[in-house]
């Protein structure tokens, strides 16, 4: 009977100290992990800045913001690259958002259960497809088709990039938006149907607005993925840093910021002007995705605040 069933006062005190110590330790570890995300982001930004900021001193701003990218001869105009990225991203968004939302609505609101069970895993597989594979399909299948169909000199255009980036964004949009639609309480749909709304009216006027913040998050995450994507666009957009001057640029080869970094970083001399400019492009890319994310969370936040205001 060395260990009594009921702990004595001495033992209880020891246990209390021990559990308190564990509590403090776990809190500290979790806190550190939480902060580490912020630290990493700041470190990445610092790394990019430390290499990229030099470019601003080495290259005059008038050259940096010119329309010609030809680093071998000292032309470091990054506007065509920014334009290329925007063009491809906007194209991808226009392609992916309607299809993604329609798919999400179909899966969550219209499809019978067995169909839902088939579709959801397929979409998730699509999300896991390596972008190189998509780029490969783009080169082999999509680009030649586009060339013949639209009678172009080459099928490797911004349009091909947009379509493939759209395919990358769609699974993200679908699965996040579908989750949001799915979490709208059934009572909302019942109430709308009971006062004589058609199924379409219920979806468009009740379910979709109720799921707005989640749907928006899905769209933003999808667009974010499209902006940062490198491999696919490098393979299918033709990689010609041409200034975007009109809408017809969508049918011409273009080059994005990500593709430029990926293609040229391997061959550039470390510490050279070209090297620094590539880092500067990285900084700009970083800022753009930061802005997109801030806009997204601000929109979600505003929607939430409005809902809370009404509910309070």
């Amino acid at each position: 009977m060395d260990t009594p069933f009921i702990p004595g006062p001495q033992q209880r005190k020891a246990q209390a100290i021990f559990s308190q110590a564990i509590e403090i330790l776990i809190t500290a570890v979790v806190k550190a992990m939480g902060y580490s995300a912020i630290v990493f982001v700041i470190m990445i930004f610092y790394f990019l800045m430390s290499e990229g900021i030099a470019a601003v001193g080495e290259v005059p701003l008038s050259v940096l913001f010119s329309a010609r990218w030809y680093p071998i001869e000292g032309y470091y105009g990054i506007l065509p690259l920014i334009g290329g990225s925007l063009l491809v991203t906007v194209g991808a968004t226009l392609f992916a958002v309607p299809i993604g939302l329609a798919t999400a609505i179909y899966i969550s609101e219209i499809a019978p259960r067995w169909m839902r069970e088939v579709l959801k895993p397929i979409i998730e597989i699509l999300a896991g497809l390596p972008s190189v594979v998509l780029g490969f399909i783009g080169i082999i299948a999509l680009a030649p088709q586009l060339r013949v169909l639209l009678d172009l000199p080459t099928g490797l255009t911004a349009l091909a990039g947009s379509i493939l980036l759209g395919l990358i964004a769609i699974p993200t949009i679908v699965s996040v938006a579908e989750d949001a639609l799915d979490s709208v309480p059934r009572s909302y749909r019942d109430a709308a149907l009971a006062i004589g709304a058609t199924r379409w009216q219920t979806i468009m006027r009740v379910t979709l607005p109720a799921a707005r913040s989640g749907v928006l998050t899905g769209v933003m995450l999808g667009v974010g993925r499209a902006i940062g994507e490198t491999m696919t666009v490098m393979m299918v957009t033709g990689n010609a840093p041409v200034m975007v001057r009109s809408l017809s640029a969508i049918l011409m080869p273009t080059r994005t910021m990500t593709a430029t970094i990926a293609a040229e970083m391997g061959e550039v001399a470390k510490g050279s002007v070209h090297y620094h400019v590539l880092f500067l492009i990285g900084v700009i890319l970083f800022l753009i995705s930061l802005i997109v994310n801030i806009i997204a969370s601000a929109m979600v936040f505003r929607v939430k605040k409005r809902a809370e205001r009404i509910l309070s």
Partner: protein, 251 residues
């Protein structure tokens, strides 16, 4: 006169829950019919079949007929939207839409494409008077509906189901979340509404069933055990299962 006649109606969900077997029930016009019994007995399922709200649920099979003024509403050719305008429904938890009080009421008109401003304005007042809410909200129709109390929200939902002048009102435990005073208000307005409407109520307690029923139907595990005139059924039921439920022995 029977407004709704349910003939040998059976329904089965694909997961096997809350099915109904061979239900025969006459729901008289301008009366309050109560469907009561322990949970899982199929009361809500029957209610949701009358306005075809079960269409979107996972129903494996339905058999039999539900005749509404002599027309079988389970027929595929029936215009479901039109049916739902004739059969209003109020749910257990008040579902107010995130609009003003007025727009909550007029939303059904909006969906139906009715634009007659005079008709709409009159209907708003009539429906709120009928649901005993008019005096409390007449000065603040443009405030958000969510600012109303729970009892007021439920009466707003009642008003919303009344505004398009349905012929039948279905209520699925409409007072389960309400305090006794609000419950009394809702029950009183239901008694007044009987003059103009046929009411089918799933009450949340036996006491409410006994207080309100003109006709009462007792459901147990998917079967209709007993139907009778309210006053008789609650004082002198013929089935022992009904008797024991009313006495509170189970359920």
């Amino acid at each position: 006169m029977d407004k709704i006649v349910i003939e040998d109606f059976s329904i089965e969900y694909s997961d096997g829950t809350e099915s109904l077997r061979h239900i025969n029930l006459h729901i008289p016009a301008n009366q309050l019919t109560v469907l009561f019994g322990p949970a899982g007995g199929g009361k809500s399922t029957l209610l949701r079949s009358i306005n075809r709200l079960n269409d979107l649920a996972d129903v494996k099979s339905t058999k039999g007929q539900i005749l509404f003024d002599g027309i079988n509403i389970l027929d595929k050719k029936v215009d479901v939207i039109n049916l739902r305008r004739k059969v209003g429904m109020v749910f257990a938890r008040p579902v107010v839409l995130p609009f003003s009080i007025r727009r909550n009421l007029t939303y059904g008109f909006e969906l139906a494409g009715v634009r007659d401003a005079v008709l709409i304005e009159e209907s708003v007042e009539r429906s709120l008077v009928q649901s005993a809410l008019w005096d409390e909200v007449k000065d603040r129709l443009d405030e958000p509906a969510i600012s109303l109390s729970g009892g007021q929200q439920q009466r707003l939902c009642l008003a919303r189901s009344l505004i398009q002048q349905p012929e039948v009102i279905l209520l699925d435990e409409p007072t389960s979340g309400l305090d006794p005073i609000s419950t009394l208000k809702v029950e009183n307005s239901l008694q007044d509404l009987k003059q103009d409407y046929t009411i089918v109520l799933v009450p949340h307690s036996v006491q409410q069933a006994a207080r309100t029923a003109d006709t009462a139907a007792f459901f147990l595990q998917g079967e209709l055990i007993e139907v009778g005139i309210g006053a008789e059924l609650f004082t002198n039921p013929t089935e022992s299962r009904t008797q024991r439920y009313i006495e509170g022995r189970y359920g």
